[in-house]
Symmetry: C2
């Protein structure tokens, strides 16, 4: 439900707002219009021919029914949900959870009307081991999220959790407590889920992990946490429609993509800071970092040339990072574009009491008004020094606007990939590290990589260690 | 208590380890030896003459007594501790809390033997408002941490909390529930604490916020959380001694500083990634980001020349970020040095059960062994492509080694400031944004800045907003 949409204000990334060294001239942005039109049409064509799946997720209301059906197949009374997944299989769900569930859910205080979600998105056993000591198997559900099913951390955690459930419950009850969210047809997780009779949900084959949060990957966790998943998709859908416009300046995702790419290409600004003034959006910034980094950081371009390019995204949060990273953003190299995300009406507020003394001027204002003044002050301070920024404004942080915000950045990423001339939808660079780890873990077929590492290590001079 | 110290392995940042494009040649590092010797001597001299206070904190055991005395003055039975502070007044305490308290403390599950700590380190009212709904004033203590006492977010939160306590408790009880940690002599927080009769602890005047976690700023939260603060300081003290060595290659902080500065100056690597393979060290990485960014990102150098320089630090965590940022680090621009932090013996572990099928090879190994294999695989994958990294190894994550790790990076930051030729101990760049915010909030004396902003905003063309 919504009347007022998200706005993207780019005046302070333009020469008129911050001067010609910090900002783009109108003609520079306009020169990118034909390229953007091609980009938008290419993304639309790839969507139409089925190459790209993410664009159609918001309109796919069939998945809402499937997600609700799976929820009904799970035990009614749940205390805890463990989401086993990493990267794109976790960051989206985590971002939805912190944005839309209450703050006390996160710190585990107070009464709950919905189960608690946990995202042990690492191979680190620290949190998972502790949780398994105290959670009640009968009141716990495990969501296993892996597109391929082969993700090593998730596969290992699933083995641990299966054993944990099986040690406490009969097989018929275990079956109701593991949900597989994976490829619709293939992969070892799909095979196992079918063999074991677990409820399953599909991530469409043409949707990559980091573009999957508007699929069951994000929707089932969101539903379990009590979020309005209809509104989430509807907000995303409304944004998807805004982002189909081929005229650059009328397309919010197009403007985000073009401003970032041109600030990089023409002004050398290779670092993109995502700085919501909103604690609830801290994990949104982490989700964005993965989306932007993994999509745009590429060795080869579409012509097959080695380019080794890609902007470096950074997560920050205001006002907190005014006391941490802002000194660097204000005075350091002019290599950054900062995006401020503003939430106009907070979900909660606190009035600052009247007082005497140094802080008297704060009396009667609210913490949110203070936060807003800080955001505005920081934006202007950067601008006064000719340092560019963008401001994305949400009237409020509800499911509708959150869905829109997610989609806005998915579309911007797809467009930025086109403007950079790279494939935004693969991640070839993470394969080598994986294969080396397989070798070290003794996986069949990887014996040579293990040997290779041991040889390299043995040859390495020992004098470079400070003890 | 400790026998085996932290090691710093820099073989993969050297030409012998990763080749001459990615690594430094021995002669390049050795050429920096005289500069480092001067740097170490300058830091030592500034420590001796009292300009720099952080170096002597680990040996200052008197503060342990003061911190313990203040603890005794507080109510014995405490459920919750609110740490009001932002930036350097919060990041260190938070880092200690997550590293040394149990994981269930963070998620609020299970029985506790110590009070729960909360770090609402933002002006955002979201979490604070919710906490005040449910916390019990009689069982809550508020630590107000502000070096100057003038930090606007903290001042505002203190007003809210004072009112919250006063609404529920008589003044004599309120007095026992607010602790001020601030400058020993001056500032509005010091004045108010004295006037109100609150227990107070001092941050030495010559210790800046981001270098203050081994003062009461970190020690009181750590003590309340049940950490061994003697060991924390002793570990830091042992590291401080190792870092006084003036021979570059024998000084672990010197090597960290010189490798980063030279990789920046000679190879153009301006981005420094901190990537512990350890969930407990996620907030340590955030602490490092502030330390590195705010200390080294400066407009002018010591000669007063405008340089606008400074490396950009990035927080990551392994193995999680292999599925998020690693694609960029592996294939993107060769502008990064990655530091891996390794914890050799985990505080907890989980054995992966035997299984048939694709993940059978994992059976019998542990999650920590998997994490280690991933760290090693990722390190080697970067190295095989000539991309440099450093590895900092901790035998285990206890108070002693954590204290040592913190000090290692404080010393490295001080040395890096010397090698960059800038003042690592100020933060002039954050003043303008603050003053503009004061103006917007109607603080006396800042009326003109408010007007100036409104004029700028009014002049700004409206056509740069996508609606």
């Amino acid at each position: 439900m919504n009347d007022s949409p998200i706005t993207v204000d780019y005046a302070l990334a333009m020469a008129e707002g911050v001067g010609p060294l910090g900002g783009l001239r109108d003609e520079e942005l306009d020169a990118e219009r034909p390229a953007f039109e091609r980009a938008a049409k290419h993304v639309a064509a790839q969507t139409s021919d089925g190459t790209l799946g993410f664009w159609n997720l918001p309109a796919d209301t069939e998945q809402l029914r499937q997600v609700r059906d799976v929820r009904l197949a799970l035990p009614e009374r749940l205390h805890d949900v463990l989401v086993l997944g990493i990267g794109g299989s976790s960051l989206g769900g985590r971002a939805i959870y912190q944005a839309l569930s209450g703050p006390l859910e996160l710190v585990g205080i107070g009464k709950r009307t919905h189960p608690r979600l946990h995202f042990p998105d690492n191979a680190d056993p620290w949190m998972l081991a502790a949780l398994l000591d105290v959670l009640t198997p009968a009141a716990t559900v495990v969501l296993v999220v892996s597109k391929s099913g082969g993700t090593i951390e998730t596969a290992a955690q699933l083995l641990v959790l299966k054993h944990w459930l099986q040690s406490a419950l009969p097989e018929s009850e275990v079956q109701k407590r593991i949900v597989a969210i994976t490829d619709p047809k293939q992969g070892s997780l799909r095979e196992e889920a079918v063999a074991q009779g677990w409820p399953t949900l599909s991530v469409p084959s043409n949707v990559g992990g980091r573009f999957s949060l508007l699929s069951p990957v994000g929707l089932l966790p969101a539903l379990l946490a009590g979020a309005d998943i209809d509104d989430l998709l509807q907000g995303a859908h409304a944004m998807a429609q805004r982002c189909t416009v081929t005229e650059l300046r009328n397309n919010p995702a197009g403007v985000l993509a073009a401003v970032h790419v041109l600030q990089h290409r023409l002004r050398g600004r290779a670092i993109n800071v995502m700085m919501p003034y909103c604690d609830q959006l801290r994990p949104f910034a982490a989700w964005y970092v993965q989306l932007w980094a993994e999509s745009l950081g590429k060795r080869v371009n579409r012509a097959g040339e080695v380019v080794e390019q890609g902007p470096t995204p950074i997560a920050a949060v205001g006002a907190t990072d005014q006391h941490a990273q802002m000194q660097l953003f204000m005075e350091g190299p002019r290599d950054k574009v900062v995006t401020f995300v503003r939430v106009q009406t907070p979900s909660r507020d606190l009035v600052i009491p009247e007082s005497k003394g140094a802080a008297a001027y704060l009396g009667g204002t609210t913490l949110h008004a203070l936060l807003e003044a800080e955001r505005e002050g920081t934006t202007e301070a950067l601008a006064m020094d000719g340092r560019p920024s963008l401001t994305v404004s949400l009237p409020r942080l509800d499911a509708w606007h959150l869905g829109a915000l997610f989609f806005l950045y998915e579309a911007a990423t797809a467009f930025a990939g086109e403007l950079y001339g790279i494939n935004a939808f693969d991640q070839p660079g993470v394969e080598l590290g994986k294969r080396l780890a397989y070798g070290l873990l003794g996986r069949e077929g990887f014996e040579r990589t293990a040997q290779e590492i041991r040889t390299r290590e043995a040859k390495r001079p020992k004098r470079y260690t400070v003890r």
